[in-house]
């Protein structure tokens, strides 16, 4: 394989990793600064190192990110061996070994878990992520002067297509098995039913709390990454010291 191809592959590996989200924060692991190294050999072998803000970050979410990273990279054409290494983590050895064997979560922690692919945990956080994103879109519409009735009547095709929140909402709804065609309602309850206009303000109050929780956790992760790991990422909110 030529050097040109290898270089292209490094970029495409990072591109693939940008599609992997921290399930708790609903943000790409690359933007959070979790990917600390990504190497592609001339032969197409890939090694990715992931480091989370603290060694104690929850093992289940750590596993999901590492496993999703492996799946995303393996999908790329021309890639041979894929090694994902979770570094400086309390359960890093168990997770790395399981991923190396191609095992699921049960393989990493035999006897300590029952859900091999962490489906229930994943779904719970996809739902939190969806409601958080919807709250941002909803607030923006209200701020522009739309009435609750107008907001509740919006469909997916009415959302600003270029807004990352709108695109992510569609992806989250697809993954949750909720309707996501252009004509489906823009703001939905967990059942997929549209949020009624009369309930919109109340719904927004809870949705906004979920969003705030996600954002604050993301903020604390970024702060810890900077203080603990020396990883400085784009972070306008934090007070500079």
């Amino acid at each position: 394989m030529t050097a040109v191809t290898a270089t292209t592959t490094t970029a495409s590996v990072l591109g693939a990793l940008a599609e992997v989200h921290d399930p708790e924060l609903d943000e790409p692991i690359t933007r959070l600064g979790f990917v600390t190294s990504c190497e592609v050999s001339a032969g197409g072998d890939v090694e990715v190192v992931i480091q989370l803000p603290t060694p104690q970050c929850a093992p289940n979410f750590a596993f999901l990110m590492a496993a999703d990273a492996r799946t995303a990279v393996r999908r790329l054409p021309g890639v041979r061996e894929v090694t994902i290494r979770l570094e400086d983590h309390y359960t890093g050895a168990e997770i790395n070994a399981a991923l190396g064997r191609g095992d699921g979560f049960t393989g990493a922690f035999p006897g300590e878990t029952v859900d091999d692919d962490l489906a229930a945990l994943r779904e719970l956080f996809l739902r939190k992520a969806l409601v958080a994103r919807e709250s941002r879109l909803c607030e923006a519409l209200l701020a522009e002067g739309a009435s609750p009735e107008e907001v509740a009547a919006r469909r997916i095709e009415d959302l600003p297509g270029e807004a990352p929140d709108a695109r992510r909402c569609i992806e989250l709804r697809r993954r949750l098995g909720l309707a996501h065609d252009p004509g489906s309602p823009a703001f939905v309850l967990p059942s997929g039913e549209p949020v009624p206009a009369a309930e919109l303000k109340r719904w927004l109050r809870t949705a906004r709390l979920v969003r705030m929780s996600l954002e604050v956790n993301g903020g604390i992760c970024r702060s810890l990454l900077r203080v603990h790991r020396g990883v400085a990422i784009d972070d306008p909110e934090e007070v500079l010291r």
Binding site: Q56, A58, T113, H228, E237
Partner: protein, 349 residues
């Protein structure tokens, strides 16, 4: 007592530690965990103002003199509750055991309260120990850390049947405050370990006990708020909210406080510095100075008053621990709860 602009505040720090995480106390073969734990705590200290940061070596084991100075000489603290966390899988003598914490009670019998702890996985021996601790130290509260590792198990829940036996024992012993601290592991490992649902269930079945959820259930503030708004005996421990956000992320601090004031209410929010993670002084002074900005972004949130701050800074915890408050530091007009009215205001907006 802290005085600012003619107002006097009785300050109770509901969440403190006096730990020994120095290398001499690390369990052989478990050094990576003992070291990782304290280094992570040290990183949190980095979220406070730079002039309050300590070098790691001091942070691992601070002295009694440090405690004297930081808490009582500089910290404005009138009374403090020391929480006990054992982590004996990683720390030979424990991280901060009740006996170690009790050294401060001996020194400040009128100011320092020590809380015990329990772990339902310790069974009969644990029950006996809790009874002994309670007799020796006249316990009014316990801290429970559900993510503690114990003989191959990485955590437990307050809904485990064994946990109820310990909660019953608490009632029998006159222990009425349970400080619950969630962590990153629990059994089975596929569950969300930070979920506060087990506290919800325990609070409903044990109305005689108060459940103080430390660091307001972070990282699950939303689950905590939805629960606390329905449970009269669930309280918000503000450790980490003030220390970790007030300086580092003031906008998020405003929003978290706004949500807590709305959902939980000022009568159920309790100041805790989390010392030695952060010194109390800057937290007390900063919190009294803090105001909710008068901008559109925060218009939906209740705005704290002087009374709000007096309650959160000390009067609420004083009530839970029967700490006597000098007459001049009590609320002048009895202090009716404001949270409900504020919630209605927001609903009708």
């Amino acid at each position: 007592m802290y005085e600012k602009n003619g107002e006097k505040y009785f300050v109770v720090d509901g969440h403190q530690h006096f730990w020994d995480a120095s290398p001499a106390n690390w369990v052989k073969g478990q050094e990576q965990y003992a070291k990782g734990w304290i280094e992570c705590f040290h990183a949190y200290m980095g979220l406070g103002p730079p002039e309050t940061h300590w070098p790691l070596e001091k942070f691992m084991k601070y002295s009694e003199e440090d405690y004297d100075h930081d808490v009582f000489e500089a910290g404005h603290i009138d009374a403090a509750v020391l929480q006990s966390t054992y982590l004996k899988e990683w720390y030979t003598e424990g991280f901060n055991t009740i006996d170690r914490n009790a050294r401060m009670v001996e020194k400040y019998p009128d100011k320092v309260i020590v809380n015990g702890r329990f772990d339902p996985r310790e069974g009969e021996a644990g029950l006996k120990q809790l009874e002994e601790d309670s007799k020796r130290y006249n316990l009014k509260g316990v801290k429970v850390y559900t993510a503690e590792w114990y003989k191959g198990s990485r955590g437990w829940k307050l809904t485990d049947p064994e946990a109820q036996i310990f909660l019953d024992k608490c009632k029998e012993l006159g222990i009425k405050n349970v400080h619950a601290h969630k962590g990153p592991t629990i059994w089975p490992l596929d569950k969300d370990a930070f979920d506060v649902k087990d506290i919800d269930v325990a609070a409903t079945s044990n109305p005689e006990l108060n459940f103080i959820v430390e660091h307001v259930g972070l990282p699950r503030i939303e689950d905590f708020c939805f629960m606390a708004t329905q449970e009269p005996n669930v309280y918000a421990g503000l450790a980490v909210v003030i220390g970790g956000l007030m300086h580092a992320r003031p906008r998020f601090f405003n929003k978290v406080m706004g949500e807590l004031l709305f959902w939980v209410g000022e009568d159920k929010m309790l100041f805790g510095s989390d010392y030695g993670i952060w010194e109390p002084q800057w937290q007390v002074e900063g919190f009294i100075d803090w105001t909710m900005p008068d901008t559109e972004e925060y218009s939906d949130y209740p705005h704290p008053t002087t009374e709000t701050k007096k309650k959160i800074m000390g009067l609420n915890t004083a009530k839970l621990y029967d700490i006597e408050v000098p007459a001049e530091l009590q609320l002048k007009n009895g202090g009716a709860p404001a949270a409900k009215e504020d919630a209605q205001l927001v609903e009708s907006a």
